[in-house]
Amino acid sequence: MKKKVLLMGKSGSGKTSMRSIIFANYIARDTRRLGATIDVEHSHVRFLGNLVLNLWDCGGQEAFMENYFASQRDNIFRNVEVLIYVFDVESRELEKDMHYYQTCLEAILQNSPSAKIFCLIHKMDLVQEDQRDIVFRDREDDLVRLSKPLQCACFKTSIWDETLYKAWSSIMYQLIPNVQELETNLARFAEIINADEVLLFEKATFLVISHNERRKHKDIHRFEKISNIIKQFKLSCSKVAASFQSMEVRNNCFAAFIEVFTSNTYVMVIMSDTSIPSELTLINIRNARKHFEKLEKLDKNRLNAGRQWRV
């Protein structure tokens, strides 16, 4: 059964843009709707193997909310793995926002009590830089308080700085069950093939799940930049109905390889020793792939077993 990731929030809080950016979806020209979403937007984005993203607008007309929401509630909130709730920092109706949020939490508590909850305080670029931390801490305290007995993790985000990417990377990181093991294995892999850096990306979003840096790099924004570049390439590929599979970039300073790795991940290997032929690195990656897939399978079984017990 497919597990859901619910992306919820008031209309206009930025969910569609967020989804589009993270998942590299083209936004149709006119998505400005005059009212609340009547139906939940099913997106066919699958990520992390068995998760499906559903986007829901919360809010709008009161009566509508009460009726439709109430009747469809169980349907929507069953089998939820993750709830991502988006708040607009500029919203003038804080009370209402909290009210809707709490309604969603009640539904989660009833239907998927083990779901992980993330709250994103979005559009932070509209707040003055020196105020941002204060405003965020404020909201965070309120939300943590309101969410009890459930636990929520809060992030401040904006599409115009690195916070969105970091927040989603953190979310992705928490959704991956065996990430510590992955990281140690990645470190060993990097040692063996003598790479400058090895990165692991999630397949659908190209969010960096883990990375191992053997040689320091000055650009702290490089992860987001690479994700953006690859997503652009993916968009171009999809225009010709091709799917992105691998990439090699080489010049006299470095060689970079982006390859499919496991069923959920891509790997990127940076080699600064350009005398090593590409084939060698590719063979290494292929061999490592088998090892990591085994890791993942092991863990999937562990995970599924765990999940069964939790319900």
């Binding site: 843009s17 083209y26 936004i27 000055k218 650009d219 702290i220 953006n228 570049i229």
Partner: protein, 595 residues
């Protein structure tokens, strides 16, 4: 705030942040982000630190960058070195930040990467994924110096013209009249005034033929004559400044020396001169005085001799040996400031000192009476007052520097409130300058009681060290020159360094080296060749050749030719002007005026 350029700086940061390649579509998309339209720069890859398309003119506001925070006075230097600050105080002459601030580069680089990606996610006409204004770093914007809303009235412009042109040539005017003969000298002053007025008018007009905004005449030259023309303009501007500085140094040495002597003699107990009122007038040129001079002036020779006593003070305080060095020690630290704006505050001293000199000359003239007829009698000794002398080029050489405004005229006149009065105001400015020179020259010359050949090229030398007025004048002028000299040195240094290193402050060592070279040159000249008349006429005729005679005429003829409106008469007239300039220059080497 209007957005003019947004340029991104590449390496050495690119190695850390990745290359910033800017394709045409990106430029187009980026430009749509801003409400006011910017012009995306073609599609060229931004490879180098952006330079302004035209080389900065000789006196560009950016050179005051680090100094001017909120003060926005423009500083101009005219020939001979008086300084004026143009009165557009409220003009937002902020520094255009050429290039992006270093700390903003990583932010910009990732912002750009994001924008590229986000814009792929929506339809091009969709506004939602455009970079909002508040997210862009401020260093992407620069404030274009606006057309100043604060314009000056005509009177202020005329005064600015007068003030800038008034220089130390004022002190040499009587000497110039001696060299050229009285009547002919007056005619020459008038003629040169008119000629330089005409070419100044041409300079002013030259920027009207261009469709881009030229800051100064050197921009115009660059446009018409290319790099070569620009270099010519720069080199000759340097010569002008250098000439001014040498003159200033010699004068300062002289004033310092005389003031020192005065103080010493006042203070020392054994006064060589018993009566305080020594001879009022001296003849430092050594011209023999005829016997039938008034007794009042007999002791002058005694006075000159007494100075040569082997008094230990005079060994230490010699105007040709030690005073220049003392002056160097005093002045050198002043030259090493990064910004000259401190010195521009003393700019009012210049005007005051000019008025002081004029008043002083008038007073002396009244005292001495009119001595013009003194030697018109058929004196067998031949002390006839020449109406014309063959050494007149000395005067024309001097006048080339005296009427020099051409490298600043555009900037001064630009702020005139009613530009249609530009010609009138320029003419009036020149008229007043000519009148001032004539007044000082004629009055001093006419009333000078000794043979006119005694008149020194610095008229204050003709007055005794005890003359109260003269002492005050020297002190005043010394202070004024001390405040202007650093400005001249600054203009020289900035022009030289910018031309060679493309930066006005390439490093402390460079600056110190340039300043040292200036000081050494000045000291050498003060020791071995302290004849300001000579310096003025040589440097004046040289710069005049280029700036007053050649460049305006050439530029005008080229402009007219590009319009196909060049008439033979214009060619003839302007070629004559050029020839006159060349002759003026050559003549300086031929004649031997009395020093």
């Amino acid at each position: 705030m209007s957005i003019s350029d947004s340029r991104i700086v590449e390496s050495p940061i690119s190695s850390q942040h990745g290359p910033l390649t800017f394709t045409p579509t990106d430029a187009a998309q980026l430009s749509k982000s801003f409400a006011p339209e910017i012009e995306p720069d073609g599609g060229e890859e931004k490879k180098s630190l952006p330079r302004r398309s035209s080389r900065l003119p000789l006196m560009h506001p950016t050179w005051y960058s680090s100094s001017i925070n909120n003060s926005s006075t423009d500083c101009l230097i005219g020939s001979g070195g008086s300084v004026t600050s143009s009165n557009n105080d409220s003009s937002r002459q902020e520094v255009p930040t050429v290039g992006v601030a270093e700390h903003d580069i990583p932010k910009l680089s990732v912002m750009f990467n994001r924008q590229k990606y986000y814009s792929r996610l929506v339809h091009p006409s969709d506004n939602r994924m455009r970079i909002p204004d508040h997210v862009l770093p401020a260093s992407l914007f620069y404030i274009i110096p606006s057309n100043t809303t604060d314009k000056q009235s005509s009177i202020v412009t005329i005064f600015a013209i007068w003030n800038t042109m008034m220089g130390t040539s004022l002190l040499s005017m009587p000497w110039g009249l001696v060299q050229s003969g009285f009547t002919f000298g007056i005619l020459l002053i008038v003629f040169m005034g008119l000629l330089t007025l005409y070419t100044a008018y041409r300079v002013l007009q030259s920027k009207d033929y261009l469709d881009f905004e030229a800051f100064e005449f050197s921009d115009v030259c660059k446009h018409y004559l290319g790099r070569w023309g620009e270099w010519v303009a720069v080199i000759f501007a340097l010569v002008t400044f250098l000439g001014g500085m040498l003159v200033y140094w010699v004068l300062m040495t002289n004033f310092l020396y005389v003031t020192g002597v005065f103080i010493y003699e006042k203070a020392s107990p054994n006064h060589t001169i018993s009566n305080n009122t020594g001879p009022e007038v001296l003849c430092p040129t050594g011209y023999p005085i005829p016997e039938n001079t008034s007794l009042l002036f007999e002791e002058l020779l005694n006075n000159t001799v007494s100075n040569a006593t082997s008094n230990s003070f005079y060994n230490w305080w010699s105007s040709t040996k030690t005073v220049p060095l003392f002056l160097a020690i005093l002045v050198f630290p002043l030259l090493n400031f990064k910004s000259p704006t401190f010195f521009t505050k003393f700019n009012c001293l210049g005007t005051l000192s000019v008025f002081f000199v004029i008043t002083f000359v008038i007073t002396k003239a009244v005292n001495w009476g009119w001595n013009l007829e003194f030697y018109l009698s058929d004196d067998p000794n031949g002390y006839q007052l020449p109406e014309f002398r063959a050494t007149f080029p000395a005067l024309t050489g001097m006048l080339s520097l005296a009427f020099f405004l051409h490298n600043a005229v555009i900037t001064i006149v630009k702020t005139n409130k009613n530009p249609e009065n530009n010609v009138r105001d320029l003419s009036l400015g020149y008229l007043f300058v000519a009148l001032t020179y004539l007044t000082v020259g004629v009055l001093f010359y006419g009333s000078f009681p000794l043979p006119k050949a005694c008149i020194a090229s610095n008229l204050l030398e003709n007055l005794s060290t005890h003359d109260g007025f003269a002492v005050a004048a020297r002190l005043f002028l010394l202070m004024q020159m001390l405040s202007v000299f650093p400005l001249l040195a600054y203009m020289y240094r900035v022009n030289a360094l910018y031309a060679i290193f493309n930066s006005a402050w390439p490093g402390r060592t460079h600056v110190i080296l340039v300043n040292l070279s200036i000081v050494i040159m000045c000291v050498l000249v003060a020791i071995f060749y302290p004849h300001i008349g000579e310096i003025i006429r040589y440097s004046g005729s040289l710069c005049g050749l280029v700036y007053i005679f050649c460049l305006p005429s050439v530029v005008y003829m080229m402009a007219k030719r590009s319009e196909e409106a060049l008439s033979p008469i214009a060619i003839l007239m302007h070629s004559t002007i050029i020839v006159l300039g060349v002759l003026n220059f050559i003549a300086q080497f031929i004649i031997k005026p009395s020093i």
